[in-house]
């Protein structure tokens, strides 16, 4: 233990004796972090340039450019080629070429020309431009849809206005039908049956004939009457009877004619009744059908009313599904999101570079051989280098965390401290391993840079690797990715280490492998002394 402390003290003495190395060791990684912090300490992006070409500038593209000018420095060019060449020459990041008839109803395709070699920037800018253009398109659509909605609303009012009329017609038709039906019913109830025999004209005639015959008989019998008075009287009566019978015959003849006439008239009425009934039935049927149609019309009106009565806004029609990205953290600035990344970057850069520089400095030191023949175990030297690097690294991280706490109130939990310790250990041992494997400072630096580049490549820093199938598989095992994920989860999502078992096991696995490799590399490096 005393040896370990002595070696650590010696390492610090050596580090601080050389001012240049002190600056590099202490301030280098912090300067990187500071610069990155400043670069990302905003939700906006600055200094993005946009080249624009449009044969004609109208209110539509001027309006769009006006909006874009808030985020981009816009340069109007004289030709589309000049605009595209500007992208090639990096005069601006993206070129927008409007069609000659750029209007809502015309050709409204805007061409974006981007430089694919600047992939990350291109993604950011095209996303921003697309967002702005979409916003403008949305506004235009909203206006158009609002006009349509106004017209639909006018139709709705008109329909609502006509609806009572239809109801009234229906009501009136209903009344008319009732009247017709009643008339039909009453008319049908009329009894127009007529029978001549009911007047018993023939029986009356027969009885009159019988009376006449009887009268004749009486008169004939009277002729034998001995009583002249009575005979005369009977004769007179007989004459009167004959006169009355004759009158009666005439009346009966008239009655018979009248009956016949009545019969004929009733026959005509009956025929009229039949034809009227048929007409009434037909009218009733027509009215029924009309009512049904009106019912159908009413249904339609009701449905139309319901359809147009949907209280929907133009914004809903233009953008029926709204996406609102709600972060699961309250962080607003890029620094907040980038902060875990910065911490891990610091740990990775610091751990690998400090570790490898410390070891290679020791190996190329004039005292190296003496160290190898000292009665001190080799692992003590490895641990001394580890502790020295860790102390420097943890001081740097503490400063960064302290500054972060002051400005962003990022909490530093004990679990975060533990994670930082674990991650730093892995990267420091990678650095030590690189140092022991290397024969020269140049080799150590190249190896460190290569490793850091490899870790960065297989992460999301350079490429959106999580979207690339095969690389994604590899990226999962990248210690930098693992470290970034656990620190992100810890800081931004407040996930405790007990839920990060998988990541921690992977980190521990890395540590075990690298620790053994470091010891082997250290043993191997001795033979070069």
């Amino acid at each position: 233990m005393k040896n370990l402390i002595e070696l650590v003290i010696k390492n610090f003495k050596l580090l601080f004796r050389n001012k240049a190395s002190t600056l590099i060791f202490i301030l280098g990684p912090m300067a990187i972090v500071l610069l990155l912090g400043l670069a990302f300490n905003s939700a906006d992006l600055y200094g993005l340039k946009l080249g624009v070409y449009s044969p004609v500038y109208n209110s539509l593209n001027n309006d769009l450019l006006g909006k874009l000018s808030g985020q981009f420095t816009i340069t109007k060019t004289d030709s589309s080629q000049q605009c595209i060449d500007g992208v090639k020459l990096s005069d601006w990041h993206v070129c927008l070429v409007f069609p000659s008839d750029f209007k809502i109803t015309g050709n409204n395709t805007i061409d974006f020309y981007v430089n694919p070699t600047k992939m990350n920037l291109v993604y950011i800018i095209t996303n921003m431009l697309s967002a702005q253009v979409s916003s403008e398109s949305e506004e235009i659509s909203t206006v158009m849809v609002e006009t349509i909605l106004q017209k639909i609303n006018a139709i709705k009012i008109e329909i609502e206005k006509d609806e009572p009329i239809v109801n009234d017609i229906k009501s009136r038709l209903g009344s008319a039908k009732s009247s017709i039906d009643k008339t039909y019913s009453d008319f049908s109830a009329l009894d127009l049956k007529f029978s001549e025999t009911d007047f018993r004209v023939e029986q009356i005639k027969d009885k009159i004939t019988s009376i006449r015959q009887e009268s004749i008989k009486i008169n004939k019998a009277n002729a034998n009457n001995t009583d002249s008075n009575s005979q005369s009287m009977i004769q007179n009566a007989y004459a009167d009877i004959l006169v009355n019978i004759t009158a009666l015959d005439s009346d009966i003849a008239n009655l018979s004619n009248a009956v016949k006439s009545t019969k004929d008239k009733l026959g005509a009425v009956s025929k009229l009744q039949d034809s009227t009934n048929s007409g009434l039935t037909s009218a009733s049927s027509e009215i029924t059908q009309s009512i049904e149609k009106i019912n159908s019309l009413q249904e339609s009106i009701k449905k139309i009313k319901e359809q147009v009565a949907v209280s929907i806004s133009a914004a809903h029609i233009v953008k029926p599904i709204n996406t609102e990205i709600k972060t699961i953290t309250s962080e607003k600035r890029y620094t907040g999101f980038v902060f875990p990344l910065l911490i891990v970057l610091l740990l990775m850069f610091g751990g690998i570079f400090l570790g490898s520089i410390l070891v290679i400095s020791e190996k190329t030191s004039r005292a190296y051989f003496r160290n190898l023949i000292l009665p001190v175990r080799r692992i003590t030297f490895v641990l001394a280098s580890y502790i020295t690097t860790m102390i420097i690294l943890l001081v740097e991280v503490a400063i960064v965390l302290g500054v972060a706490y002051l400005f962003t109130k990022t909490p530093v939990s004990p679990s975060l401290a533990l994670l930082v310790l674990m991650i730093a250990t892995v990267f420091v041992f990678i650095g030590l391993m690189v140092g022991y494997f290397s024969k020269t400072t140049e080799m150590a630096m190249l190896l460190s840079i290569a490793l850091v580049a490899l870790f960065l490549f297989f992460s999301n820093i350079i490429l959106p690797i999580e979207a690339i199938a095969y690389l994604k598989e590899v990226a999962v095992y990248n210690p930098f990715t693992i470290a970034t994920n656990i620190v992100k989860e810890n800081i931004l999502l407040d996930i405790g280490i007990q839920l990060q078992e998988k990541y921690l096991l992977m980190l521990f696995g890395y540590f075990a492998i690298i620790f053994v490799a470091t010891l082997l590399a250290e043993k191997f490096s001795k033979s070069h002394a």
């Binding site: 040896n3 010696k10 003495k13 030191s365 004039r366 005292a367 003496r370 023949i373 000292l374 009665p375």
Partner: protein, 325 residues
């Protein structure tokens, strides 16, 4: 040097082999290092000196052979307290001060506070580093850096100090100073020292025993005298007189065979160099003759073969042998 009487073996190497892949670096090495002596391993660059030193401390594991240290298990971590190692390039933290470096390595060797302070004081005194205790090591001169490196290697009072090319890249004055320092350390601290170097100047006067290493093989080993015995070259005798040297030359010509003279070089300014197997024997015979001839001796210089000459001879002999094969 003071350990000559005792001859207690501190380190014994038997049939040591070390390969890197298929390349043989050390090949069947055998030697012993006595306690308290300064042991030199000399060889050309790439002969395997540094690897031999690192193999001795078990930094490189030998492929075969045996290295035995006195009462110490080489595989224990505690073994590292047994030796100190100073490499060719100074091995400390240039950014730290002299004092900080010593405290740092002292702590890592497990030396407690007060003892450590005392030890550092001793070393600063011994290695004459007191004036630069608070100077960053990078600002020390080359010689001082070497001293600091040796101090760091000795902070824990090792029984064995291995110095790999301790004088390389130092100017002659500093080289001499470091050699004197090594001698002091050996004498004052009683530490056994193994020096590996391809710079032979000073080693011959410093080391009790030397091995000549060439392409991973020991060509010769032993004390300097023993090496000289194995030396196949001539010794030199330089003679400068003020008179006519013709008679001297005649005398020597007649007795060339008897005196073992291989060659006489007349430099023309009354100066001769006589090459013989035994220059002392030549001088022994020549001095009465010169007195008889009444030649006034201005300069008479006997020179034994230097370690460089022995080394060159041994290597050349090896190369000739290899060429013959």
């Amino acid at each position: 040097m003071g350990a000559e009487e005792k001859r207690e073996i501190l380190l014994k190497v038997e049939n040591l082999n070390k390969n890197f892949g298929r390349k043989s670096i050390l090949n069947s090495l055998n030697f012993e290092v006595n306690k308290g002596e300064i042991f030199g391993i000399i060889g050309t660059s790439g002969s395997g000196k540094t690897i031999l030193l690192k193999t001795l401390i078990n930094f490189h594991r030998p492929n075969s052979g045996k290295i035995t240290f006195n009462e110490t298990n080489q595989k224990n971590l505690g073994f590292r307290k047994f030796f100190g190692f100073s490499t060719q390039e100074s091995c400390f933290y240039p950014e730290l001060t002299t004092l900080e470096n010593l405290h740092h390595f002292g702590k890592l060797y497990g030396i407690k506070g007060k003892l450590r302070k005392e030890r550092i004081k001793e070393l600063l005194n011994l290695l004459e580093l007191e004036e630069c205790t608070n100077m960053p090591a990078s600002q020390l001169s080359g010689g001082m850096q070497k001293r600091l490196d040796i101090a760091c290697s000795m902070i824990h009072k090792p029984k064995l100090l291995l110095l790999d090319e301790p004088t390389v890249e130092l100017d002659p004055l500093l080289r001499h100073s470091v050699m004197r320092l090594i001698e002091d350390i050996n004498k004052k601290e009683g530490i056994t020292i193994i020096i590996a170097s391809h710079l032979l100047g000073g080693i011959e006067t410093l080391c009790n025993s030397i091995v000549i290493l060439h392409k991973g093989e020991i060509l010769e080993s032993g004390s300097l005298d023993k090496l000289r015995e194995a030396y196949s070259g001539d010794e030199e005798l330089l003679l400068r007189t003020d008179g006519d040297q013709k008679k001297v030359l005649q005398f020597l010509d007649k007795r060339k065979k008897m005196l073992g003279i291989t060659r006489i070089a007349d430099h023309g300014n009354k100066c001769l160099t006589i090459y013989a197997k035994d220059s002392e024997k030549v001088a022994h015979y020549l001095l009465p003759v010169l007195r008889h001839l009444k030649e006034k001796i201005i300069e008479l210089k006997l020179s034994k073969p230097s370690l460089t000459e022995i080394f060159t001879s041994v290597i050349s002999k090896k190369k000739r042998g290899a060429d013959k094969k």
